[in-house]
Symmetry: C2
Subunit: 112 residues, 2 copies
């Protein structure tokens, strides 16, 4: 079974960096929360149970720099900021789908 993983197994391959970002503890959950649609900061913090302000900010900054998340700030009082997946971000979230389904499906069997 080839998983097209040739790149990821060599430590200096850039795909390792992408993999680290996508599979970071909170990265997986932020992407899957945004897969449902645009969310504000407060909504994101509620969706991703247990994430701190600091980790949410760092995770969003990484994904913005990676081109996976779009941040839209509206010039309003109080300020309104919304986060959404870019096309590339949606592709990443879809690539995560099978893994999330495996985790949910087999959780009892594995952790039980």
């Amino acid at each position: 079974m080839r998983l097209a993983q040739d790149g990821v197994l060599t430590s200096n391959c850039p795909s390792r960096v992408v993999l680290d970002h996508l599979t970071s503890k909170w990265g997986v959950l932020v992407l899957s929360a945004l897969a449902d649609g645009t969310l504000r900061w407060g909504e994101l913090r509620r969706e991703v149970d247990g994430i701190s302000e600091k980790m949410l900010a760092a995770t969003l900054r990484t994904f913005e720099a990676d081109g996976l998340v779009h941040r839209e700030a509206y010039p309003e009082i109080p300020p309104r900021v919304e986060y959404s997946l870019t096309a590339l971000g949606r592709e990443a979230a879809e690539a995560l789908g099978p893994l999330l389904r495996f985790a949910v499906e087999h959780a009892e069997e594995i952790v039980g």
Copy 2:
């Protein structure tokens, strides 16, 4: 886009534990290395560039306890120990496939 992630977003859901194991930095790489077939300890260390003895041992122990990896020790001198994916482990590795392909395909574009 629903990613069947209802479970994973709540912090006390067992699927989060499974997700943490699968998406740990070395977990992803050990599973993808074993997706090619049975490997000995030394072969695994060479395949997964950069992994320490300690992390390889801890990762394999976790996956054995999860029922994803099978360890076979042969009563020989010198001792021979082989690691392979169980059926559940192969399913987990397949679920990782799209994520690995995304990382390899978009590495230059994201990290570039």
